[in-house]
Amino acid sequence: MDFSYSEEQTLIANSLRKLLDDTYAQDQRQRYLESDLGYSADNWRQYAELGLLSVPFAEEVGGFGGSSVDVLVLQTEFGRRLALEPFVSTVVLGGGAVRLAASAEQQAEILPAVIAGECRLAAALGEPQARFDLNDVETTARADGGGWVLNGAKAVVMGGDTADKLVVSARTGGAATEREGLSLFLVDADAAGVSRRGYRLIDGRGAAEVTLDNVTVDGAALLGEPGAAWPVIEHVADLGNAALCAEAVGAMEMVNELTLDYLKMRQQFGRPIGRFQVLQHRMVDLVMEYENARSIALLAAMEADNPDVTTRARAVSAAKVYVAGAGRKMGQWSIQMHGGIGMTDEYMLGHYAKRLNVGEQTLGDVDHHLARFGAIAAAA
């Protein structure tokens, strides 16, 4: 067994950490947040130059041919600095759908621009009525000549506010919550009939509500076979969750660094508060949660590319349940141990808690993944 990064992974982690150290000081991050774009266009360009946007894509289309473990390496760094760029939505989710569903020809058409940082993607899979069930799709796609006409609404599309293209799930057959009959389409975000209501999530990242009103696309917009997209949708969500878990682990590292520093520095009753045993034990709890979260996030990354859905789902849902639960507790405990200062917008700790929160409530919450894991465990 080997839990360590390869030499190449260490190298890339270090250079990304360096870049983020230089570009993500708190005041810089604040400026990105206050800009219309909501992230650093400059950083996005640099990620492209460093090849980070190419990681999971095949070499034939100019990709790096990497794995979900490579994505974990990057995501942990993004999590440590609470990066705002649409990496998950473009590379992991939107890009994941394209590489898993699209023909070689379509990939060659779409992905080079993504890799170059010139095309941002977002996966518009969830719907207002669906909660976390991605099979609950009411958006329809009707065949029309050689193309399709799309109608429906998509909810909380991460990165949907700035995306150039959207990967949209729509029903070409089957009844409301059936897994059969789902298809994926690549739609220009500014196509006629697409309207987007952009907003920020609690962690500052952008997202959008998307409405599709008689949006016409040509035949080439269909990714994969019509009606057969469910396995891809499920796999994309697993890739996303593995990446969100890795990001959470990075955020947790910083939660613990900040909290430990504070326990040593903050004086009350004539001594550092870290001398109070109840806080010492809580700090140990934080470390314990972090270590276990990291372990299971590694498992999720190792299995996220596995085509065998049972093995993959078991690992990813387990990771999501554990990491989301740990993240919730860690956010609460660390704020508590800081006292009033932990409640302020000016201090970074709370922003880590918020990032952990968004991860928890995206692509399935604890209950959703408990049920998914439970069903697998019960059948085994």
Binding site: F132, D133, A155, R197, I202, V278, R328, D345, N357
Partner: protein, 398 residues
Amino acid sequence: MDLSYNAEELAFRDEVRAFLKDKLPQDLADKVKKSQRLSKNDYMTWHRILFDQGWITPGWPVEYGGTGWTAIQKHIFDEEASAAGAPRVQPFGVNLVGPVICHFGSEEHKQRFLPKIRSGEEFWCQGFSEPGAGSDLASLKTRAVLDGDEWVVNGQKTWTTLGHYADWIFCLVRTDPDVKNQEGISFLLIDMKTPGVTVRPIVTLAGDHVVNEVFLEDVRVPAGNLVGELNRGWDYAKFLLSNERTGIAGIGASKADLEHLKDMARLERKNGKPLIDDPLFQARLAQLEIDLMALELTNMRVLVEEQERGSPGPISSLLKIRGSEIQQRLAEMKMDAVGPYATPFILEAVDADWNGEPVGPDYAAACARSYFDRRKTSIYGGSNEIQKNIITKAILGL
């Protein structure tokens, strides 16, 4: 044993209900139920309605405007007001400094300050905490030095809730630096308009401006604004904090919150069915309701004891701990109830006069904000760790 209200208490409850039905403005109750942001005017509107009714200061001695209600009656009022959606009465004048003035203030203080606290004409804030003195409040450094017939005050207060609304601040200040921490503190009333008082906002995680830093630079305060005896401020602060903890379990508000959570869970859908029927969610909801039931009865036991013996004693710390935990869990479950729609953060959406289109259901916008905001309930008024230290010493003798 009898765990129900007696006939007089039931009659009192009916009277409170009739009053609320008649006098609580519907638009205000709607704002409260939707967790929208309340303005100073909203708080004061309700304050004045209670004042007109003679019910604004139930806890004060009757000669100063108290209602003479029993502890149970106070609880009934609190519970009914919360259920009806009445805003919380801001405690700083009514529950904190008011009783201190009633008990320890001079005749002049009583005449000068009490009527305006009751009428709502003057808004108060609490200047206890400092950057270096939170849990260890007695280590506070803000200094007051007598110069002729004025105190000259220098220092900094922080976390001052609604200091930007306040006309007056009651402060703990150090008047003798050469004795044990607790023995050199006095209780001083400062007009916020005095030159040298500067208020700076602190923005919280929920994106709100509620707390402030208050800087005091050569602030000259009439010597007569010192309450009670010189260097006895710590005793008055302890008296005040024990009042702060009465009603701190927040039972009434939590019961109202639970109903709201259930309403949301009936509307939300999971797998096409109401979320409230989902076994995982339902089990957690049930557990929360059971914990609240147990706390409610414990609270009643404490109230009855208070009624019989005159003071609740250190057990009120238990109420604060568990009450704050339940308030936090309620906010947490509301956030969980709305699923993916908990994550959009649209600040304006919690303003009553916002007429934008909500993202997701209209009750979703407040959920994550409340979740983060409620972290405060286990920090302020003496953190839960400090409450446990109190219990350890005062009840367990450890």
